[in-house]
């Protein structure tokens, strides 16, 4: 029987540093809730807004798969491996921090807020060689369907990470639905609503609500309005 967990948008933690406003679905930095630490291998889901021209100065990371998905504006990345890149909506960036990496992240525009999701997934192996990549997200094959943006497989659609995880973006018109089948036994899915309203397993979800479901082989997402969402299919044990 399916098990579920609801994290409403209003229940998230957060931080307001003026130039940075961040909502944390799971415990992060100074926000700590022992009941909200992770969903399986999904450890961080931050909903960030960075003021024009501002950003995160050089800082280190290790042993984490770090995924950034811009929602509006442009985010500039530079790292200690010599990578320089800018990502915009329609793109996804991944960094396997592994043995250690330094990077900066800045809002490329001075007059526009950049909004993006930063997602951290526990790696399935510690101390891997650091790597960086960014790709354009493909168009859906048909209306009201999913687009895979992340997997464990380098030859597969989207970026890849060191974990048995699959991410899909969905865009549904009101009244339509999609049946999601888990990619791997033992995985659960965390659905994060970006826009609009949807119903999953009898639960109505609004923008920025999060909903986890596991111990089932599939589930249906029904659009209560035009809606956009992200499905993060991750191992529950890792």
């Amino acid at each position: 029987m399916a098990q579920t967990v609801l994290h409403s948008a209003a229940s998230r933690g957060g931080a307001d540093h003026g130039w940075l406003k961040s909502y944390h679905t799971f415990s992060f930095a100074s926000y700590y809730n022992p009941e909200r630490v992770n969903f399986g291998a999904l450890r961080v889901l931050n909903d960030d807004s960075v003021a024009g021209g501002r950003g995160f100065g050089e800082h280190p990371h290790d042993n984490m798969e770090i995924i950034s998905i811009p929602l509006s504006g442009s985010l500039e990345h530079k790292d200690s491996m010599g990578n320089i890149g800018t990502i915009e909506p329609g793109e996804i960036q991944v960094m396997s921090a592994g043995t250690g990496i330094y990077h900066t992240e800045y809002n490329k525009n001075k007059d526009e807020v950049v909004k993006f999701l930063q997602i951290w997934v526990f790696p399935n192996k510690r101390n891997v060689e650091p790597r960086y990549d960014q790709v354009k997200i493909g168009a859906p094959e048909k209306p009201n369907s999913l687009v895979q943006i992340l997997s464990p497989n380098p030859e597969d659609a989207g970026v890849w990470i060191h974990q048995d995880a699959w991410f899909n973006l969905g865009k549904l018109e009101k009244g339509s639905e999609v049946d999601y089948v888990f990619q791997r036994k033992g995985n659960g899915a965390y659905i994060f609503i970006l826009e609009g309203e949807a119903e999953v397993h009898g639960q109505t979800l609004s923008a920025r609500d999060g909903f986890g479901i596991w111990d089932t082989e599939n589930f249906v997402i029904k659009a209560s309005s035009d809606t956009e969402f992200l499905i993060m299919d991750v191992p529950m044990e890792f």
Partner: protein
């Protein structure tokens, strides 16, 4: 060393990241953290001082992590040995709170 401080030992081979982690831990008034870069130093430290938490930072091999878990548990059976992920501020505090069984929520706002 002050009384009632939570003593934390961090092991990590990347000196810059180790220093960042130590700075973040020592910014908390009730924690005191020291860092070492390898197994021998960590084991030696644990023979001479009591720690509540051993944080396994980046750069250690699987064998080194296993060695630390095994040998330091013999020296200090009550110590919490946990892997650190992320290399900075994001997960650090929650990792320590969880290891210590801290139930108090912190809003972050």
């Amino acid at each position: 060393m002050m009384d009632n401080l939570t003593e934390i030992l961090v092991v990590g081979t990347q000196e810059d990241i180790l220093q960042t982690v130590l700075r973040l831990l020592n910014s908390q008034p009730s924690w005191h953290a020291e860092g070492v870069s390898g197994c021998e130093e960590a084991i030696s430290k644990c023979k001479s001082q009591s720690y509540q938490v051993l944080l396994l930072g980046g750069g250690l091999t699987d064998m080194e992590e296993e060695r630390l878990k095994t040998e330091i548990k013999i020296i200090q059976p009550g110590i919490h040995i946990i892997p650190h992920y992320g290399g900075g501020s994001g997960l650090l505090y929650a990792e320590i709170y969880l290891a210590l069984g801290t139930d108090n929520k912190k809003s972050g706002l």
